[in-house]
C-alpha cells in the first residue's frame, strides 16, 4: 500500500469515527440540524471557516489564478468585509429568534408557509449546483491519488460524504469541519515554503512567473474589469446570506460566541487564501501546460511535497470539499425534509419518522448532483465558476429578504416571495443568456431588491406578531 493511500485511509477512518461518535450525541432534530445550538467559538468559527474554504479555494481559486492571473486575487478581499458585516450588523438581529433552517426563518419573519416553501426549493436548486463543483474536484483528486477515472472518484467521494453526514448530522459535520480545518492549515502552511523552494525562493518565483506567463500580473488582461467587480460583489453578498453559513449562527450559543467565531473564521480564511495565491504562482512555473487549471493544486501536492505530506495536502483538499458539501447536504436535506415534507406535505409526521425522512432527504440531495455530472451536465467548467454561479444564485435570492427582513418592518411576504423568485430567475437567465463580462449576481440582486421593496409597498403591512421579535426596540 502506498503512503498516499495509507494517509487517505487513515484520514477517512478518523472522519467515520467522528460520525459514529456524533451519532451518540444526537438525540433530537435540534442536535441533528444545528448541533443543539450550543457550539463554542472555536468549533463554531472552525466550522464556518472550513465550510467557506471549499474546493473553491483549494482547487478553484488556484485554478483561476493559474489560468487567468493574479487579478482574481483581489476579488476575494471582499470576503472578510462580508464577515465583518455579518458579525457587526446582521447576527445581532438575525439570531434573536433561533430556527432550525433558513426557510424556517423566512416563514417566521414573513408569516407564510409558501415563502418558506419557495426558499426551500431555491436552496435545493442552488445546492445541487454547488455540490457539483465539489464533486468534480473530488474526482480530480481521486484521479491523482488513486489513478482511478475521474468519474469513479466522483461516485466514491459522494458515497463517503453521504455515509458520515447521514449518520451524524450537524454534530458530525461540525467536528469533522474542525478536524478538516486543522489539516487544511497544516497542509497549506507546509506546502508553501516547499513549493517556493523548488523555484529558488520568492525573488526568483516572481521573476519566473512573469517569464512563464507574462499576463499573470497584468490587470484586466485575462478577466474583464466588470467581471472582476461583479465577482467580488458575488463573494461579498454570497458570504452574507448563504444558508449553510447563516445556519451556523444559530448553532453557536450566543452573540459574543458568534463574534469570536467569526473572527477566527476571517483570520483562517484570509490566511489560507494568501497561501493558495502563492502556491498558484509556483504551479504556473512548475507545470506550464496543465489540461485544466483545477489540477494545479493536486499536482503541487503530488510533485512538490514529500509523499506523506503530499497525501496530507490532498487530504486537506478533500477536507475542504467534504466540509463544504457536508454542510450543504445538511442545508439541502433540511430544506427537503423539514421545510417541504414536514411543513407542506405531512405536518403530523412522528419524530422517529421525521429523523428517517431527514436522512433520506440528505441521500436524495446528495445523489442528484453526481447523477447529473455523470450525465454530462456541469462537466467541463472550472470549479471556481461553478462556485460563483451558486454564490450568485444564493445572493440573488436571500440577501435582500434576509438582511432587509431584519432591518425594515414594512417588508411583506409578497415582497419576499417576489424578491426571491425574481432574483434567482434573473440570475439564472443572465447566466444562460446575458453578457459574460458581468456576473449574474448584479442583475439578480438589483431585481430582487426592486421587487422586494416595490411589492412590499404595494401590499398590506405585515402583522405585528411576525415582525415584533426582530424589532424589540421599536
Amino acid at each position: 500500500m502506498s503512503v498516499q493511500v495509507a494517509v487517505f485511509l487513515g484520514y477517512f477512518l478518523v472522519v467515520f469515527a467522528i460520525g459514529w461518535l456524533s451519532l451518540r450525541r444526537t438525540h433530537d432534530e435540534a442536535d441533528y440540524w444545528i448541533a443543539g445550538g450550543k457550539l463554542g467559538w472555536f468549533a463554531g468559527g472552525a466550522t464556518l471557516a472550513a465550510t467557506h474554504t471549499s474546493a473553491g479555494t483549494f482547487v478553484g481559486t488556484i485554478g483561476v489564478i493559474y489560468t487567468a492571473g493574479w487579478s482574481f486575487g483581489w476579488v476575494l478581499l471582499s470576503i472578510p468585509l462580508a464577515y465583518w458585516f455579518v458579525a457587526a450588523v446582521l447576527a445581532p438581529r438575525f439570531t434573536r429568534v433561533r430556527q432550525l433552517t433558513l426557510p424556517a426563518f423566512m416563514e417566521a419573519r414573513y408569516y407564510s408557509k409558501g415563502v418558506r416553501g419557495i426558499a426551500a426549493v431555491i436552496v435545493l436548486i442552488a445546492t445541487v449546483v454547488y455540490i457539483q463543483a465539489q464533486i468534480v474536484a473530488g474526482g480530480l483528486v481521486a484521479n491523482i491519488v488513486f489513478g482511478v477515472p475521474t468519474e469513479t472518484g466522483m461516485v466514491a467521494f459522494t458515497v463517503i460524504l453521504l455515509a458520515y453526514t447521514v449518520i451524524g448530522g450537524m454534530v458530525a459535520v461540525v467536528y469533522t469541519d474542525a478536524f478538516q480545518l486543522v489539516i487544511m492549515v497544516l497542509g497549506a502552511l507546509l506546502a508553501l515554503p516547499l513549493a517556493v523552494r523548488q523555484v529558488d525562493g520568492f525573488g526568483s518565483l516572481l521573476h519566473m512567473v512573469e517569464s512563464a506567463q507574462p499576463t499573470v500580473f497584468q490587470w484586466g488582461s485575462t478577466l474583464p474589469t466588470s467581471l472582476l467587480f461583479t465577482m467580488a460583489m458575488a463573494f461579498f453578498l454570497g458570504s452574507i446570506a448563504t444558508p449553510e453559513k447563516l445556519i451556523r449562527l444559530y448553532a453557536m450559543k450566543d452573540l459574543p460566541t458568534i463574534r469570536r467565531g467569526i473572527l477566527l473564521a476571517v483570520v483562517a480564511i484570509t490566511g489560507l487564501n494568501l497561501v493558495v495565491f502563492l502556491i498558484a504562482l509556483s504551479a504556473i512555473v512548475l507545470f506550464p501546460d496543465l489540461p485544466t487549471g483545477d489540477l494545479a493544486m493536486p499536482m503541487v501536492a503530488t510533485a512538490v511535497l514529500p509523499p506523506a505530506l503530499g497525501a496530507l495536502m490532498l487530504a486537506a483538499i478533500t477536507s475542504a470539499m467534504m466540509s463544504t458539501v457536508d454542510s450543504l447536504l445538511i442545508v439541502a436535506g433540511s430544506a427537503l425534509s423539514v421545510d417541504l415534507y414536514q411543513n407542506l406535505i405531512h405536518p403530523e409526521v412522528t419524530l422517529s419518522r421525521r429523523m428517517w425522512v431527514d436522512r433520506l432527504g440528505i441521500v436524495a440531495v446528495g445523489t442528484v448532483p453526481v447523477v447529473l455530472l455523470l450525465s454530462g451536465v456541469g462537466q467541463g467548467e472550472l470549479v471556481q465558476f461553478i462556485v460563483l454561479l451558486f454564490t450568485a444564485l444564493m445572493a440573488s435570492s436571500f440577501v435582500v429578504p434576509v438582511v432587509g427582513g431584519v432591518f425594515w418592518r414594512r417588508a411583506t411576504r409578497e415582497g419576499a416571495a417576489a424578491g426571491m423568485v425574481g432574483g434567482v430567475a434573473t440570475a439564472l437567465a443572465w447566466e444562460a443568456l446575458g453578457p459574460e463580462a458581468i456576473d449574474p449576481v448584479l442583475p439578480g440582486f438589483l431585481v430582487s431588491l426592486a421587487l422586494w421593496w416595490g411589492v412590499s409597498l404595494l401590499t398590506p403591512p405585515p402583522p405585528e406578531a411576525a415582525v415584533a421579535p426582530y424589532f424589540p426596540d421599536a
Binding site: 512563464a212 499576463t215 485575462t222 510533485a303 454530462g376
Partner: protein, 224 residues
C-alpha cells in the same frame, strides 16, 4: 446553466492555438549528469497531429541552468530558441505525423551543472515543453530517468517521489503531467543527513496523530 466551458472561455486572450486538437500522449525525459554537464533527451509522443503543423517549444532557464545546443530528432538539426521574456525561451518546429495523427518529437540539449563546492549540489534540469496539453492527466504520462555521477548521494528531487532504478546511480520518477524542470539535490561529500522532506513528513504525521488522539478523547468524553 451555461454550456460547459463557456465560463472558462470568458477568459480573454486564451484563444486556443491552431494545433489545439493535438495532444501530448506521453513524454520521456532522460538525463545523464556524468561529465560536468547534463545531457538531456526529451521524447514526446503526440496524438491528433496534422502533418506539417508548427508546434511551439518552450524552455525556462533556472538561473545558470540554461539549456544549450538544442537539437531536434534523430537528424540532430539545431533548433533556435531565442529568449522571449525574462527566463523564458521559445521557438517552433514542424511536426510530421502518420496517417493516424500520431507523431514523435525528440529534443536533446545540454545543461551546465553547478560546481557543488560546499559538499552539496542542486542541479536544475529544464524540460523543453511543447505548447500542447495532455489529453488528460494520467499516471506515468511523464517519465524521467536520470544517471547521476558516482559519489552523489541524492537527498531530494523534483518530482519528490524519485526512486532508484536498475543500474548504479540511476533514478526514476513519473508524473501525471509534464513539468518545466526536473531537479536533483545531492550531497557530494559522502555525508548522510536526514533530508528536509523526511523531517517534514514526520512532523506532519506526528501532528495528525496527536490531533486525532486529542479529538478522540474530547468526543468520547462528551459522548459519555
Amino acid at each position: 446553466m451555461r454550456a460547459p466551458g463557456l465560463a472558462a472561455a470568458a477568459l480573454l486572450g486564451l484563444a486556443p492555438a491552431a494545433t489545439a486538437q493535438a495532444t501530448v500522449h506521453a513524454a520521456t525525459f532522460e538525463a545523464d549528469l556524468r561529465g560536468g554537464e547534463a545531457r538531456v533527451t526529451v521524447v514526446y509522443e503526440l496524438r491528433g497531429v496534422v502533418s506539417g503543423t508548427a508546434v511551439g517549444v518552450s524552455l525556462l532557464d533556472f538561473g545558470p541552468a540554461a539549456a544549450a545546443d538544442v537539437r531536434v530528432g534523430p537528424t540532430g538539426a539545431a533548433l533556435a530558441l531565442p529568449r522571449t521574456r525574462g527566463a523564458a525561451r521559445a521557438g517552433t518546429l514542424e511536426v510530421d505525423a502518420g496517417p493516424d495523427g500520431a507523431a514523435r518529437v525528440e529534443l536533446s540539449y545540454v545543461v551546465p551543472l553547478p560546481e557543488g563546492g560546499d559538499g552539496s549540489v542542486v542541479a536544475h534540469l529544464p524540460v523543453a515543453t511543447l505548447d500542447l496539453q495532455p489529453e488528460r492527466a494520467r499516471p506515468e504520462l511523464f517519465q524521467a530517468e536520470l544517471v547521476v555521477p558516482e559519489g552523489w548521494r541524492v537527498t531530494e528531487g523534483f518530482p519528490t517521489a524519485m526512486y532508484p532504478a536498475a543500474g548504479v546511480g540511476r533514478l526514476q520518477a513519473s508524473l501525471q503531467v509534464v513539468p518545466s524542470v526536473v531537479t536533483v539535490r545531492a550531497r557530494t561529500d559522502g555525508r548522510t543527513r536526514p533530508g528536509l522532506l523526511l523531517l517534514l513528513d514526520l512532523v506532519a504525521l506526528s501532528g495528525l496523530v496527536a490531533f486525532s488522539a486529542a479529538g478522540w478523547r474530547h468526543l468520547t468524553a462528551r459522548a459519555a
